[in-house]
Symmetry: C2
Subunit: 215 residues, 2 copies
DNA sequence: CGCAAGTCGTATGGGGATGTATGAGATAGT
DNA sequence: ACTATCTCATACATCCCCATACGACTTGCG
């Protein structure tokens, strides 16, 4: 087992993988780290299974520099995803969930779908490399936000109650993803996307006072 | 170019890739071919990027035997997808598209979603290996069927016209796929799936005579 | 029953990706 | 200006996979 001795020989070596916020690294190192993270997102978007070399090239940085920051590919993907989701969190925190549930839902979708569009490829890549539990854990916050809104909508009679929230949630997911895909292939204008999404989801989710009984 | 001489040395050697229906191969060879095709679907479902060896193992057949039937991995994937879609075609041809558009839509969805569930993983794998044009070409028939129905529904006033058919189509796709995914992870009962799908899509698609003007 | 058709094990070659190792050179920070 | 830190090129070992080649064995089928 020769892989035991030199685990800390050289290279970045930050705090034990967690709580590495703005550590005692040099400024250019931090900059490169950010560049790499950003490049990971865009590289994976272009090619879902881009190699480490591809990502390094996209970042305009040597492959070895990258390995200096992230020892393994999985670690890189995870860090990129975490970073991406954290940025998303910041945006989403600014969205008011108060008021009419349907309108709040529209606001939340409008802010969310862009984020979805940006990180969906990365997320797909992560699903191949990270344990599913880890991924769910990272999404927890964003998912809880949407779930809470849908629940409130149901309680207040704005959203239908004959379907479980989980199904409304996945529906929202897939429709946003579908829109993102349509945008990517150029069949849909990014500016129209939120409207298209709402046009599907709102009628589907809102309680319909008429036609209550079927068959 | 040393890859030119031995293309017909041995192995199955059917008609030039098309019109290979029940050629002059031995019975067990045909059986193995079928086994391999089936195994491809299931193997890919378990692991989206299963190797040729994996598939051969899943089929209970030597890797070399597989290469006897399909010279290249891409050829194998394509054949499996074609086979899968052909079977789907047979099922879908039996679905009546006449009568009330909404009801016809329900019938079509009920028959389609199972097929989607079966071949979605395979399709994802194919998208990495086959030209996009080829894939669209294979889906043409199934897609045209659904599109035609949606169009008729729009003309007859059953479906809303403020959204393009293409968007209704992709929505249908993603929701069916979402249901399939939910079933795969055990969060949704397969028997409930068609109902859940309809419960979302019908309200979303049907023309709503009230609330015509918004903001 | 006998031969062609098909199967399978093993070996080989080529390619590409992940990590590791090293050392010279650039650069930030004090 | 000096030093610890960081970058980067190259090289290397390893692994996995696709694809081909060969040869021996098994089996369907006339």
């Amino acid at each position: 087992m020769p892989t035991k001795k030199a685990q800390v020989t050289r290279g970045t070596r930050r705090a034990p993988a967690t709580a590495n916020r703005a550590a005692n690294q040099r400024a250019d190192a931090q900059r490169n780290r950010a560049k790499i993270l950003a490049a990971t997102v865009t590289a994976i978007r272009k090619n879902p299974d881009a190699s480490v070399a591809d990502i390094a090239a996209e970042a305009g940085v040597g492959r070895m520099t990258l390995y200096g920051h992230f020892q393994t590919r999985a670690e890189l993907i995870e860090a990129a995803l975490v970073d991406s989701l954290e940025q998303g969190e910041e945006v989403l925190e600014g969205v008011s969930l108060e008021g009419d549930p349907a309108e709040a839902f529209q606001r939340l979708v409008a802010s969310s779908w862009v984020l979805v569009d940006q990180s969906r490829a990365l997320l797909a890549a992560a699903q191949k490399e990270l344990p599913a539990a880890r991924i769910r854990e990272m999404h927890e916050s964003a998912e809880a936000r949407m779930r809470g809104l849908l629940l409130r909508g149901q309680r207040e009679g704005a959203f239908r109650v004959d379907l479980p929230v989980s199904w409304l949630l996945t529906t929202t997911h897939v429709v946003m993803n579908g829109a993102a895909e349509e945008v990517r292939t150029g069949r849909l204008d990014p500016d129209d996307a939120p409207w298209f999404i709402d046009a599907i989801l709102l009628p589907a989710f809102t309680q319909d006072p008429t036609e209550a009984g079927e068959a």
